[in-house]
């Protein structure tokens, strides 16, 4: 049976030499086709004696199987090579830029972000958010807040007025968010725990003043909250907001018509260059005003000052934003310069959370 060995060697050589699928197919036809060399050998099996068949059958079938396998393997190899060649030619320049995703382009204004931060901190302490109109009456902005008519404290507010209406009443743009205290106390029965963020207005304009700015106030009314609680809340707030482990605060007696006692609060800090670092240093920076709600204010809201008591505080949102995030100039907040907004603004998905940290 030297023929079979020789035939196998020849066929394997042809398979090996095949350059493409057509060549492989030609080898297959020549070996396994109807008239193929192996097919012809298989046909001879029928004429053999059982003994001959028993001997030659496995040899011929074995040859057929090995050749088939070799043909398939060659075919696959050629297919792989052809695909590789095709893919190699199909090449993208991956350094070409893609368009920026909308989420990359969009920005949240620092004022909105800081309001969200402040809300997050106080919501955790059980405070809700109250709001009120920007156009106020003299009653809500001044009288109910214990600003006597003609008192110099009114004048210090540089109020924007509207022309008197048909009823002779002259409305104004609120000079602080404190009118919301009155509106809240009129509507809600104590205990009250609210913060009141919003736009406020004073006709004043220079490097550090804009005719419109933002404030957030807080108000607590119940039957036992005192100055000590106020100090604690403000300390907790400052630590949480400025994201520092400790702060040192200084409460200085001051005057606001709607609180008694009244205080201004300084926070200890270190100013170096553009940065302000809290919890260290030797400078004092004023950041807010606060005090116990004045008995007259409680009375104006039909609350008995011998039964109810509480405190309020207020601070500039733009100002604490500047202190935390380092914007040098208040006026830029309202200029809508896209370069400023892109730089100081926050990404749409930067939600302040207590779990993840306010500023991420």
């Amino acid at each position: 049976m030297t023929d079979l060995k020789q035939l196998e060697a020849e066929l394997m050589k042809s398979i090996d030499a095949a350059k493409d699928e057509a060549a492989v197919e030609a080898v297959r036809v020549s070996a396994l086709g109807k008239k193929g060399s192996i097919s012809e050998l298989l046909k001879t099996l029928g004429a053999m004696t059982p003994e001959e068949r028993k001997q030659n059958g496995p040899l011929i079938n074995g040859l057929r199987d090995r050749v088939s396998e070799a043909l398939n393997a060659k075919k696959n190899a050629l297919k792989q090579a052809a695909l590789s060649q095709q893919l190699a030619a199909d090449k993208a320049d991956v350094t070409l830029p893609v368009r920026e995703n909308a989420l990359e382009r969009g920005r949240i204004h620092p004022v909105s972000q800081v309001i969200d931060e402040v809300t997050t901190i106080f919501a955790d302490m059980g405070f809700s958010v109250a709001e009120g109109p920007d156009i106020e009456t003299d009653f809500y902005n001044f009288t109910a807040l214990n600003f006597p008519e003609g008192h110099p404290a009114r004048e210090m507010h540089d109020t924007f007025f509207f022309n008197p209406g048909p009823d002779g009443q002259r409305k104004l743009l609120r000079t602080h968010t404190s009118p919301v205290q009155i509106r809240t106390m009129e509507k809600v029965k104590p205990p009250i725990r609210v913060i009141m963020p919003g736009r406020t207005y004073r006709c004043d304009s220079d490097q550090t003043h804009t005719p419109m700015f933002h404030q957030v106030e807080g108000l607590v009314i119940d039957k036992g909250s005192h100055l000590g609680h106020l100090k604690w809340i403000l300390e907790e707030f400052c630590k949480a907001f400025f994201e520092v482990p400790s702060v040192k605060m200084r409460f200085r007696p001051s005057f606001f018509p709607f609180t008694e006692p009244s205080m201004e609060v300084d926070i200890q800090c270190d100013r170096r260059g553009n940065e302000v670092r809290f919890g260290e240093g030797s400078d004092w920076m004023e950041i807010l005003g606060c005090g116990m709600v004045h008995p007259n204010v409680l009375k104006n809201c039909k609350l008995d000052p011998n039964e109810y008591q509480g405190f309020a505080w207020g601070m500039g949102i733009d100002r604490i934003a500047m202190l935390k995030y380092g914007m040098p100039d208040l006026r830029a907040f309202f200029e809508a310069d896209v370069r400023w907004l892109s730089h100081y603004g926050f990404r749409p998905l930067d939600f302040p959370t207590l779990a993840g940290g306010l500023s991420g």
């Binding site: 070409l96 368009r99 995703n101 909308a102 989420l103 382009r105 969009g106 920005r107 949240i108 204004h109 809300t119 919501a123 302490m125 405070f127 809700s128 109109p133 920007d134 156009i135 003609g150 008192h151 110099p152 004048e155 924007f160 007025f161 509207f162 022309n163 209406g165 409305k171 743009l173 736009r199 419109m212 005192h226 100055l227 000590g228 100090k231 604690w232 409460f251 200085r252 007696p253 005057f255 008694e260 006692p261 009244s262 205080m263 201004e264 116990m292 004045h294 000052p305 008591q309 907040f333 309202f334 200029e335 809508a336 310069d337 896209v338 370069r339 907004l341 749409p348 998905l349 939600f351």
Partner: protein, 802 residues
């Protein structure tokens, strides 16, 4: 309020250092704003004797002096002063010293060949006066080698404090000293003003026409004074706080204004004709005031008049005509009480900020009206001589009779402050309150100078500030029984969500002014008189905005002018339809300019962005509505919008014709022009208040998901239809063909132009048929398809494209 340390020490016996005093002032509510310590700047200047002064060999006007600076090692100084001479004791500065008056640093130098190792200085070079006729000459017995500043009383530091409007009593040095003494910084010196006995009746009478303007007016004449410059100590004191000495009589009134918070006025009696009347001004009356300006009064203002007419503007400023000069011989001294509100109004209207107004509008001590006059009289007699008349007092000094029932636990109730036994009483007493009673509730009488103290809370403030706010322990604030629940209202949540959604759509949040110009307000449906400011800060910021679009459009244009033509901005903020609270609404507004489309702006290798259009605006509006929880399936989108939008390329999103939620579209070219903004600009404005609140649900569970086990089938249809027919009508007609089985209808092609008859368009829809109970047969699907074509044709006149 300014004062010097030595002035304070006239009233306060203390060993405390300047910095201790300053810190304490701040911590008791008298915030120190500035400390000016001249002694530090003048420290290098010492006294020295000129040993010899020879003419400079090469300069006629210069002298070469040998100066003994006190250490026995004379130095050579070249000096140009005419009074430089041997034996003179002057002020010497060595080379290296900074000269405050000239701002220069002295150097060793040669002047015309002669070495000079320092300088003998003039008062001007020292920065202490304008005197520059020659170098300073000190008395012959002045020790040499000593610092100059203390010798001249220039080492008296000046403090400036911010006095809050309630503390009128601290607009005088004595009030400040009293507060410091209460805070245990020292002891308040005893001081009792003794009455000065009049020697004759006051020849001028006083009539008060309206006691509400002037409760009391005290007057006296001092006859035969000799007015002139006031003594050095008084001049120095006034100069130290920035006042210009005038003459002794005027300087005395200024002294008492700052020393006792008691403004006074002096008239030259020779220039006053007849008696004085305190009355309302007649409209149009004028006065040439002491500041050299003429003021015209209205009938609300209060004046002091004589037979000549108005002589003084009550409590604010005297008149030039009756003022005191060096030739004054008889002087009328006035000490009065004025209505603080009237003084404030008058001062504001006339724009006069005087030290007198400042004090009267905050409230002076009524009980000190007559003692103040006596004190002034005493000083006038001491400094200028003369004989005093008796005092005439018109009106009456109001009685100080405020007594407060004060529970001693009140500082603990309101402030959480634990006091030592007797401490509250000590503090109040040291501030001048009179405390009586031994029970838990004591009676506290308020001193006449503390008009601000009305009740218990004020007394708590007094105790807390003097005891020290730092003694109040920070006390943890219990969160209480409140359940953890969301604290935001629906509108607050929408406001937040709208901001995040618009930022997520690639827009940048701006915060623009709430006020815009009248012309812009009118162009956007506003401009009502009730929304126009009476005192705008600028003409372009005069009216409350009816829309956020003008502010954003102007901002986009400013960015374009800086080279950023394609900006995508948004704002979520208040708009004003009227001046009532319910007429203030929360708008969420997007504005895209140039090519700032949703997918990105400008040119790009993968395909450049076209101009922004109505559909970018529509996408923003829908994004806002979706984020704000609007019922998207119920929204109606109708063509057209407000006049500032392109009439054919704008739309309105509503829930029925009465509840308009949003507008979107391209800005009308005329609106662009009115704002001075270059188009194209696409805007959307959503009114967040108008979105209905979702119905409250008992649980947060979502409705169950129903999935069909059968494959959906999609069929495409292209229709030729009139251009005017809205896509939504075709979609609705197709949907109506079989409400059960048709799950979706999408518009996937729109074509107008070649091959399509003019006035017509080709609109292609893909209809998704979702079998519900069984797989549909071909015949059943064909039947639905025919029904779709029939419905669309019937409702819109469309023809299936062949």
């Amino acid at each position: 309020m300014k004062f010097t340390l030595s002035w304070l020490k006239e009233h306060l016996e203390t060993d405390a250092s300047l910095s201790e005093i300053a810190d304490k002032l701040t911590m008791i509510g008298l915030e120190v704003e500035r400390i000016e310590d001249k002694a530090a700047a003048l420290a290098p200047f010492t006294t020295a004797r000129v040993i010899s002064a020879e003419k400079h060999p090469d300069a006629d006007r210069l002298r070469v002096c040998k100066v003994d600076p006190g250490d026995g090692k004379p130095v050579q100084v070249v000096c140009g002063a005419p009074n430089a001479r041997a034996g003179l004791i002057g002020v010497f500065a060595r080379a290296g010293t900074h000269i405050p008056g000239t701002g220069l640093d002295l150097k060793v130098g040669k002047i015309r060949g002669q070495e000079s190792h320092g300088m003998l200085v003039s008062a001007r070079e020292m920065g202490i006066s304008d005197e520059h006729e020659g170098i300073i000459e000190l008395p012959a017995d002045t020790p040499i080698g000593k610092p100059f500043a203390p010798l001249m009383g220039l080492d008296d530091p000046m403090l400036e404090i911010a006095v809050t409007p309630n503390r009128a009593d601290c607009l005088g040095v004595r009030g400040i000293a009293r507060d410091l003494a209460a805070a245990l910084v020292g002891k308040l010196k005893d001081e009792r003003t003794m009455p000065v006995k009049g020697e004759f009746p006051c020849p001028v009478s006083v009539k008060i026409e309206d006691a509400s303007l002037c409760p009391a007016f005290a007057l006296r004449l001092v006859r035969g004074v000799k007015n002139g410059p006031s003594p050095e100590w008084l001049q120095r004191r006034l100069r130290a706080i920035g006042l210009r000495p005038i003459n002794a009589l005027v300087d005395i009134t200024n002294l008492l204004t700052f020393d006792r918070a008691r403004p006074l006025h002096v008239f030259d009696a020779a220039k006053v004709k007849g008696n004085l009347v305190i009355r309302r001004a007649k409209a149009g009356e004028k006065l040439l005031a002491l500041d050299g300006k003429t003021y015209e009064f209205d009938s609300e203002m209060c004046v002091i008049a004589d037979d000549n007419g108005v002589e003084s503007l009550s409590g604010i400023m005297g008149g030039e005509a009756s003022g005191c000069s060096e030739s004054t011989i008889d002087v009328l001294i006035e000490s009065a009480l004025w209505n603080p509100v009237n003084i404030a109004h008058t001062g504001r209207k006339l724009g006069i900020n005087s030290d007198a107004r400042y004090r009267f509008e905050r409230g002076v001590d009524p009980a000190f009206t007559v003692p103040g006059l006596d004190l002034a009289t005493k000083l006038v007699i001491e400094l200028c001589g003369g004989k005093p008349s008796e005092i005439v007092l018109a009106g009456a000094i109001p009685e100080a009779n405020r007594v407060i029932d004060f529970p001693l636990h009140e500082p603990h109730r309101l402030a959480g402050l634990e006091l030592k036994a007797g401490e509250a009483k000590r503090i109040l007493t040291s501030l001048g309150f009179i405390v009586s009673g031994n029970t838990e509730v004591v009676k506290v009488a308020v001193p006449s100078w503390r008009g601000d103290v009305e009740g218990k809370a004020d007394l708590v403030e007094e105790i807390v500030r003097i005891a020290g706010v730092d003694r109040v322990p920070a006390t943890p604030f219990e969160r209480g029984e409140f359940a953890r629940k969301p604290v935001l209202t629906a509108l607050q949540k929408r406001t937040r969500a709208a901001k995040r959604a618009l930022a997520g759509a690639g827009l940048v949040e701006a915060v623009t002014w709430s006020f815009i110009s009248k012309q812009q307000a009118e162009a956007f449906g506003g401009g009502k008189p009730s929304l126009a400011l009476a005192n705008p800060i600028a003409a372009e910021l005069s009216d409350m905005r009816p829309s956020l679009i003008p502010g954003l459009a102007l901002a986009a244009q400013r960015n374009a002018d800086r080279g950023y033509a394609d900006s995508a901005l948004f704002e979520v903020g208040q708009i004003f339809l009227g001046d009532k609270p319910e007429e203030q609404l929360m708008a969420a507004t997007s504005l895209r300019k140039g090519t700032a489309k949703v997918a990105g702006a400008g040119r790009h290798w993968s395909g450049s962005a076209g101009n922004v259009d109505v559909f970018d605006a529509k996408a923003d509006a829908l994004e806002t509505l979706a984020a704000s929880g609007a019922p998207l399936d119920k929204l109606q989108i109708v063509p057209g919008g407000p006049a500032y939008l392109h009439p054919g390329r704008s739309g309105t999103i509503q829930l029925g014709p009465k509840n308009i939620l949003a507008y979107f579209g391209e800005l009308h070219p005329a609106a662009c022009e009115a704002l001075g903004v270059e188009g194209p600009v696409a805007v959307s404005e959503t009114i967040l208040d108008r979105i209905p609140e979702p119905k409250a649900k008992a649980t947060r569970a979502k409705p169950p998901l129903m999935l069909s086990p059968f494959q959906p089938v999609e069929r495409d249809f292209a229709f030729i239809v009139d251009r005017e027919v809205q896509a939504t009508d075709i979609v609705k007609a197709a949907q109506g063909a079989d409400k059960n089985l048709i799950a979706a209808v999408d518009v996937f092609d729109l074509y107008e132009g070649k091959g399509i008859e003019p006035g017509k368009k080709s609109l292609a829809i893909a209809v998704t048929i979702q079998p519900v109970e069984k797989t549909l047969t071909d015949a059943e699907i064909e039947a639905i398809a025919s029904k779709i074509v029939a419905e669309v044709t019937k409702k819109t006149g469309a023809v299936l494209r062949g």
